[in-house]
Symmetry: C2
Subunit: 430 residues, 2 copies
């Protein structure tokens, strides 16, 4: 019964986390603060050490030691699975609500936002660590970790505010997808240098070609291929309706949409992109007809169950024990730079892309700030690579990256929902 | 990136299993066979050894060795988590569609069905193994494993056939809940005897009191408490509607329903019952108003994603390598006895409960046959307990129980959908 016992214990853990997340989210929303901030803080609280004790330990969850992912236990992995599936379904829903024309119309601006939003944070991260300990590899990995944008966080706030169709929302989502491709390229170069001491041109070129092709081909498919296929399916449904058998055909659209989401998320992960990029593009395939077939409502139901585990999971990464006052100072500097460079880079990109969008620059700049789990993943890779007998990313700097990721993820949605509501002055409390 | 890598690999596994399950289910439905049979067979196929190779190994899934649950790997555990959540949400949906009056009106019959459906299979299992190897503990655990009914399987067929409101459906669901309580009592006695050599009266009495109280109190709460609470909430919603703020209140009903489902499932597992008993009772709390608030549709969406993993997971347990021809013979005898004794016991219970239900006896008897994962869990416990230096359940007999569980689970829905459709002659192909 050990397997059953473990499942029972896991259910208790999931129940406790879900109730805490739901309550915190409800309280925060009442005060006009995005609910996900409450959920992340629950994660931080559950992981917080009170003497030798923490709720996380009490529940039997063991967080992996940086550099040794196998050191986490079954319950940590289980929460990670539900968390990752949750954010996959969130981005799938966002895709379902994003029509391809809306995205391509802001394409030029999104590209500039992504490029500048990658260059400035990388330079800042690199420079700070070169001044801090002068280790080239530490500096490169800190730069790469500061590049990442986690669109999951901003997307949730946008959905809460009901502002998916605002032009800023589309720029942010588009830029986040491109950002992920650029981030992957940066990471490949940095990891390659740490492993072999030089950038392997063939490797990097391959990554650039494959990841760009994946995104571009899917967007072209959404724009050109999907309308034709949809026409044929609509005709088929009409024929079936004449025979009174249309329910059967409609019932399989949702599982098929799930399959497309799973396939593209898996594929994105296999070529090194974030799964959520695949999930978002999968959603966009069905966007034109998602509303009428109830796909959004159905995916939303799955998201309501799974997504709270994602935000709690982000918060669970904070390990208060590892902070010395010196390290806290470095973390503060990194956090401030991470926010300013993204804000300036992405804001400048918005204005360069379209001079009439000056009022949008502020919103886009803030919307791109949250690093979410992506920065943590980059740092994890750095800890796992050994250069000259020591890790390419020290445990201290890993703690700084986690701090930076979680704090930007908590602060940005708060600011974002304020400026967004200020401009549009509508939508329910986030 | 190992954690990310693992997640990427897991996504590939989930994608492959989901696609295979969906395709098999679609093909089987086309021929009028319940789709879940196709899904279980996919599990059997994926686990099947072809020489030294199997799809399961190729995907990197490692099944735990009987008696050592920790020997399975991360991917096996991940599938188990999604599988168990899937069947929890299935039974939650079944609860949402079961009004408490419909259940209590068949209470007497359900009780008799459950009692006779427990006694006959236990005696048969006990007798066969006493004749086979004469080991008392082997015999008791085989009896206990044959007692279990997995209502998840039958419930899915009932839902596919759209016959939730048929009296036979209510008898089966009610009997399955009582069956689980009785099965727990039998298992407690058997495990206690194996561990200490005697039945601990206090222990057994405690189990009887706690598990019966849990079920009875919840059913009374559904009948008496819920209508009053619902009245108050409806009044509150009406007040809010006058203020134009009703959407907010309605939006939280679904997460609250999820919380109740998680809490009662966890609690059921903690007191030793199956989680699905808690999930079913949780659903029943919301049954009166589930339709109007869209709870069924939302829970269904989650089930569509998670449930295929449950049926595949059941099939994955079959280990073809462990079968000798002698063992296959024993398995055949056990399977036939498992089916006949459940059928006769539950059929007789139906007729004893209500003499006018003779035509229902056939349907109820078949509906109670599938053992699903519950029999496997019982056998796992037996393998983990040591008596006089050897396991209370041998590895050979474990293989027989798995075979019995999977085969009854595959055959019964096929027969069940035939007899059910023969009587009611309607509903879509299952």
């Amino acid at each position: 019964m050990s397997a059953e016992f473990e499942m029972g214990q896991l259910m208790v853990i999931l129940t406790v986390l879900f109730i805490l997340a739901f309550s915190a989210s409800a309280v925060f929303k009442r005060f006009g603060i995005p609910g996900l901030i409450g959920e992340i803080l629950i994660g931080v609280l559950v992981a917080a050490q009170i003497g030798d004790w923490s709720v996380m330990e009490f529940l039997g969850i063991v967080r992996p030691v940086p550099g040794d992912p196998d050191s986490g236990n079954f319950y940590w992995n289980a929460i990670e699975i539900l968390a990752q599936l949750g954010v996959v379904f969130l981005l799938f829903t966002v895709g379902l609500e994003t029509k391809v024309k809306e995205l391509t119309s802001v394409g030029r601006t999104a590209l500039l936002v992504a490029v500048l939003g990658v260059i400035l944070p990388f330079i800042a991260g690199y420079a700070v660590i070169m001044m801090w300990d002068g280790n080239l590899y530490h500096a490169m990995f800190m730069g790469a970790a500061m590049v990442a944008t986690s669109v999951g966080i901003t997307a949730q706030v946008i959905k809460d505010l009901n502002l998916m169709s605002a032009s800023e929302s589309r720029i942010i989502i588009g830029a986040a997808v491109i950002d992920d491709v650029l981030g992957l390229i940066v990471l490949t170069m940095v990891a390659g240098m740490a492993r072999t001491g030089s950038i392997e041109i063939i490797n990097v070129t391959g990554i650039i070609v494959i990841s760009s092709l994946f995104v571009i081909l899917l967007i072209v498919f959404c724009a050109k291929g999907v309308p034709r296929i949809a026409e044929k399916i609509t005709a088929a449904i009409k024929r079936k309706e004449a025979e009174g058998r249309e329910r059967k055909l409609k019932g399989i659209l949702f599982p098929i949409a799930l399959i497309v989401c799973l396939v593209l998320s898996s594929f994105a992960a296999q070529i090194g992109l974030a799964m959520i990029v695949g999930a978002f593009l999968a959603g966009m395939i069905f966007a034109e007809h998602a509303e009428e077939h109830g796909l959004i409502k159905k995916t939303n139901a799955i998201t309501i169950f799974l997504l709270p585990f994602f935000f709690v999971y982000v918060g669970l990464h904070i390990d208060t024990e590892s902070f010395t006052s010196e390290l806290l100072l470095l973390a503060a500097v990194v956090i401030v730079l991470a926010m300013i460079t993204k804000y300036v880079g992405c804001g400048a990109g918005t204005i360069l892309g379209d001079r009439e969008r000056k009022s949008s620059a502020h919103i886009v700049g803030i919307g791109m700030i949250p690093r979410g789990e992506v920065g943590i993943i980059v740092a994890t890779l750095g800890v796992a690579i050994t250069v000259n007998g020591s890790a390419a990313m020290s445990a201290d700097l890993f703690a700084v990256v986690v701090m930076m990721s979680v704090v930007t993820t908590i602060i940005a949605p708060f600011m974002f929902s304020r400026v967004f509501r200020k401009k549009y002055g509508k939508g329910p409390a986030a």
